[in-house]
C-alpha cells in the first residue's frame, strides 16, 4: 500500500463532518460570557527575554557586590571578554527558551534537555580554554562552598524570572521548571565568576559548572512536585473518600 493511498483514506475519513449539538456549543459560550473582557497580550519575546537577562545580571551583580568582586579583579582582559559575554549569550538562549515554554504553541528551537547539555558544555569549553592551573587544593571543601553559593543565588534568579513571566502559561510545567532552573543557574555562575578568585581548572570546571545542572534538576523537581500536589488535591476534591 502506497503513502498516497493512506493519505486518501485518511482524507476521506477526516472529511466526514463532525458536528456538535448546538447546546454543547451554547454551553461553552455561556461559560465564558460573564468574564469576557479585553485582555492585554503578552509583550514580544525579545522584551521578555531581555527582562530575564536583566534579572540574571541584577542577581549576579547584587550577589557579587555583597561578597566582593575578587574574581573579576583577578581576571585578565581576555578572561573577562570571554567569560561574561558567554554567560550573557547563554542567559539569552535560556531566557528565550523559558519564554517559549510559557507561551502555548510557540516554536521550540531548543529542547530543555538540549539547553541543559549545550549550556553546560559551552561553559566547560570556555573554562577549559581559559583556566590552565591544574592543581586541586582543597578541592571538595572549597568546591562545595562555591556550589552552594551559586545555587543559593540561582534560587532568587529563577523565582524572579518566574515572577516576570507569571502571565504566561506553561503547557509542560516540568520543562518550564527545568529551563527556569538553568537560567537561574547561569545567574549563580555569574556570581561565582565575579566573586571566586580560585582559578584552578578542576575547581572551576567541576564546581562552578555544576551549578547549572543542579539548578536545572531542582527546578524540574520543584515543578513536578507542585504539579503532583495539584493533581492529588484535584483528585481528593473529586473523590473525597
Amino acid at each position: 500500500m502506497k503513502d498516497e493511498e493512506i493519505d486518501e483514506v485518511l482524507r476521506k475519513a477526516g472529511r466526514v463532518p463532525h458536528d456538535l449539538p448546538s447546546e454543547t456549543l451554547q454551553r461553552v459560550a455561556d461559560s465564558i460570557k460573564p468574564s469576557l473582557r479585553p485582555v492585554r497580550p503578552l509583550p514580544p519575546t525579545w522584551v521578555m527575554t531581555g527582562g530575564l537577562v536583566l534579572v540574571c545580571a541584577a542577581v549576579s551583580l547584587a550577589g557579587a557586590a555583597r561578597a566582593g568582586f575578587f574574581g573579576f579583579a583577578k581576571m585578565d582582559l581576555l578572561e573577562r571578554l570571554l567569560v561574561f559575554p558567554a554567560l550573557v549569550l547563554l542567559a539569552w538562549v535560556a531566557g528565550s527558551a523559558f519564554v517559549h515554554e510559557m507561551i502555548p504553541g510557540s516554536l521550540r528551537r531548543v529542547s530543555p534537555g538540549a539547553l541543559l547539555g549545550f549550556g553546560s558544555a559551552a561553559l566547560l569549553a570556555v573554562f577549559a580554554f581559559l583556566f590552565r592551573d591544574y592543581r586541586t587544593d582543597h578541592f571538595f571543601s572549597v568546591g562545595i562552598v562555591c556550589l552552594l553559593t551559586g545555587f543559593l543565588h540561582a534560587i532568587p534568579a529563577a523565582l524572579l524570572g518566574w515572577l516576570l513571566l507569571r502571565r504566561g502559561f506553561a503547557v509542560n510545567s516540568v520543562s518550564a521548571g527545568l529551563v527556569a532552573g538553568v537560567l537561574g543557574g547561569l545567574a549563580g555562575v555569574g556570581v561565582l565568576e565575579l566573586h571566586c578568585p580560585n582559578f584552578q581548572a578542576a575547581h572551576v570546571l567541576v564546581w562552578h559548572t555544576a551549578v547549572v545542572p543542579l539548578s536545572g534538576a531542582v527546578g524540574a523537581l520543584v515543578a513536578w512536585t507542585v504539579r503532583f500536589r495539584a493533581d492529588s488535591g484535584a483528585r481528593e476534591r473529586t473523590n473525597p473518600e
Binding site: 500500500m1 503513502d3 493511498e5 493512506i6 493519505d7 483514506v9 485518511l10 482524507r11 475519513a13 477526516g14 466526514v16 463532518p17 463532525h18 458536528d19 456538535l20 454543547t24 456549543l25 454551553r27 461553552v28 459560550a29 461559560s31 465564558i32 460570557k33 468574564s35 469576557l36 473582557r37 479585553p38 485582555v39 492585554r40 497580550p41 503578552l42 514580544p44 510559557m102 507561551i103 502555548p104 504553541g105 510557540s106 516554536l107 521550540r108 529542547s111 502571565r167 504566561g168 502559561f169 503547557v171 509542560n172 520543562s175 493533581d231 492529588s232 484535584a234 483528585r235 473523590n239
Partner: protein
Amino acid sequence: MHPDSNLEILMARYQQGDFAAATDLIERISPQLHRFFLAQSLSRTDADDLLQETWLRIHRVRHTYRPGEPALPWFYAIARHVRVDHFRKSVRTTAGERQLEARFKDAANVLRESDHADGLEALLAPLSESQREVIQMLKVAGMSLEEVARATSSSVGSVKQKVHRAYKKLRETMSATRFRKGQGGGLS
C-alpha cells in the same frame, strides 16, 4: 475569503472582548477539538468534558496568544495540555479506582467501536497516542509540519519521524485488512 473568517483575526478580536468573535471561534474550533479528544481513546462523555475544560482554559489564558502568530497550534497546544492533564490524573489512581476505570474504558471502547467503527478514530486506533495526535493534526486539522511541532512542543524533525512511523504502522494494518478481506471474498 472574508478577513473576519481568519482565525488569527477572530482571536485578536476575542482578546479585545468581542463576544461574537468568541462564539465564532467556538463554533469553528470545537468540532476539531472534540474529534481530537475522541481520537485519543476517549469516550464521548469524556470528550465533551474535556472540550468544556479546554475552552475554560483557553479563556483564562487568552492573553498568551500573540497577534500574528498561527492560532491553530495555540488552540491545540492547550487542548493537548488538558488531555495530558486528564490522563495523568486518571493514571495516578488507587487500585480500586483503577478497576473502575478499566471497566469504564471497556464500556467506552464498546461505545466507540459501535459509534465510529468505520471512522477516523477506528483507522487511527492501532497507532500510539503521540502518532495519533500528529496524524490527526496533519491530516484532519490540515496543519503544516511546523504548526504541529508548535502544538506538540517538539521539533519539525521529531514530527516527521512520528509521521513516518505512523505511516509504516498504518501501511501494515491496512495491508493486513485488505489481505483478510481478499481472503474472505475468495471463500464466499
